[in-house]
């Protein structure tokens, strides 16, 4: 244990109610001790439920650990507590950029820049604007597509080195060519949690277009599952139409140990999102919606 960690740990032990957990969690995060950092941060966040900095710390650690969904949730919680929180806006800007949602990425970065004049933020906004301008407008928006990041799940990974401080430096590099080294079928959901294990895009004939699906034992079941889902979109559409329910939007299945969500990013494709049962159906629908947006942009780029 290094001196600074030892000192901070002792300080926290002496006064468990102090805010020193923020510093200790950050030091542990930078040292790559994610599990220990998260334990400290979660305990601090539980003690200070109204402290946005605690949520921001949790988010950065989740992100370092590759858990983009939890990072997203924690940053959103930080914004609920403090709508102008710099770290949360930068973090969400990164996550949206990575998922290809340039409009939201830009919005968060533009709010962040009102709180900090750091040059990296201006450069990041310029890059997002350039990327958006290079893409055709969708539904009247200047929404463009950026390739998802090729790096790890964390802002600091994307920067190539740990961020000195999320509040003081831009937590990701916009200079990298995100996703450039990934084959198209892997770039589709790159950056999404479970991109290769729980997100599967297939065509109407039951053929896999991208993503992947594995069972609990890690066995690749994507092709077998895709085959069973051939024509499911047509069948769902027919059922909804015959019952005068309008266009079908989603098909959700709850199992004891997992939940499935099916949607149609385009008339010719079906997106299957699978998560374990700890992810409630409502949250699964939100995840599926985000993945569906990424799939639509990916399909548009292909055609």
């Amino acid at each position: 244990m290094s001196d600074d960690v030892r000192t901070l740990t002792a300080a926290l032990a002496a006064d468990p109610g102090s805010l020193v957990f923020l510093e200790l969690g950050e030091v542990l995060r930078r040292r790559g001790q994610g599990a220990a950092a998260l334990k400290v941060a979660l305990a601090g966040a539980a003690r200070y439920p109204a402290l946005a900095d605690a949520r921001d710390l949790c988010a950065r650690i989740h992100s370092d650990l590759g858990d983009g969904e939890s990072a997203f949730d924690a940053w959103m919680e930080a914004l609920q507590l403090d709508p102008t929180h710099l770290g949360a806006h930068k973090g969400l800007g990164f996550l949206y950029y990575r998922s290809g949602d340039l409009r939201r990425a830009r919005r968060h970065l533009e709010i962040a820049v009102t709180r900090s004049d750091e040059p990296g933020l201006h450069a990041a906004i310029a890059r997002v604007r350039e990327a958006a301008a290079a893409e055709p407008a969708v539904d009247g928006e200047a929404a463009g597509e950026a390739q998802p990041a090729a790096g790890g799940d964390s802002p600091s990974d994307a920067a190539g080195a740990p961020a000195d401080s999320a509040a003081d430096s831009l937590p990701f590099s916009m200079d990298a060519e995100p996703g450039a080294d990934l084959p198209p079928e892997e770039a589709l959901f790159a950056g999404f949690e479970g991109a290769r294990e729980g997100l599967l895009l297939l065509d109407q004939h039951g053929l896999r277009l991208g993503g992947g699906l594995r069972d609990r034992d890690g066995v690749d079941v994507a092709d077998a599952v895709a085959a069973h889902l051939a024509g499911v979109s047509r069948e769902s559409g027919r059922a909804a139409r015959l019952l005068e329910l309008g266009a079908w939007q989603s098909l959700a299945v709850e199992c004891g140990d997992g939940n499935l969500h099916l949607s149609a990013p385009s008339p010719e494709t079906v997106l299957l999102t699978v998560r374990d049962a700890s992810v409630p159906a409502g949250r699964l629908a939100i995840l599926a919606d985000r993945a569906g947006q990424a799939a639509r942009r990916w399909l548009e780029r292909l055609t």
Partner: protein, 116 residues
């Protein structure tokens, strides 16, 4: 229709926004019992629900998941929910978009248990 079936289905169809509920044979997609509002084509609902459920059962099996306990088709103007019960039966409900789906879900689980 037995009293048990009728009571179970009426509890589901009494929920705000639920057009009706029915018991469907999974094997052949035929209506076993129903409690539907006028205008709902029970036979069509039964056949379509059974077909979709069969396909999704095979899907979850291939994915290495336990057997499904709830199916929910959401459309612009409403939803179809289905919960498996004993003896290859399905409790199926048709609901409006503003229905209390959380309550419907719970009542459907309860109905499936009573029927079993």
């Amino acid at each position: 229709m037995t009293a048990v079936y009728r009571d179970a289905l009426e509890r589901v169809s009494a929920i705000r926004g639920v057009h009706g509920a029915m018991l469907v044979s999974t094997e052949d997609g035929l209506v076993v019992a129903d409690s539907l509002m006028e205008g709902v084509d029970g036979r069509a609902v039964a056949a379509l629900a059974a077909s979709l459920v069969g396909r999704l059962r095979r899907t979850t099996e291939s994915a290495g998941l336990r057997p499904p306990r709830l199916f929910h088709l959401r459309a612009e103007k409403g939803s179809i929910l289905a919960v498996p019960a004993a003896n290859d039966l399905l409790v199926v409900a048709v609901a409006q978009p503003d229905a209390n789906l959380g309550l419907a879900r719970l009542e459907m689980f309860a109905a499936a248990e009573r029927i079993g």
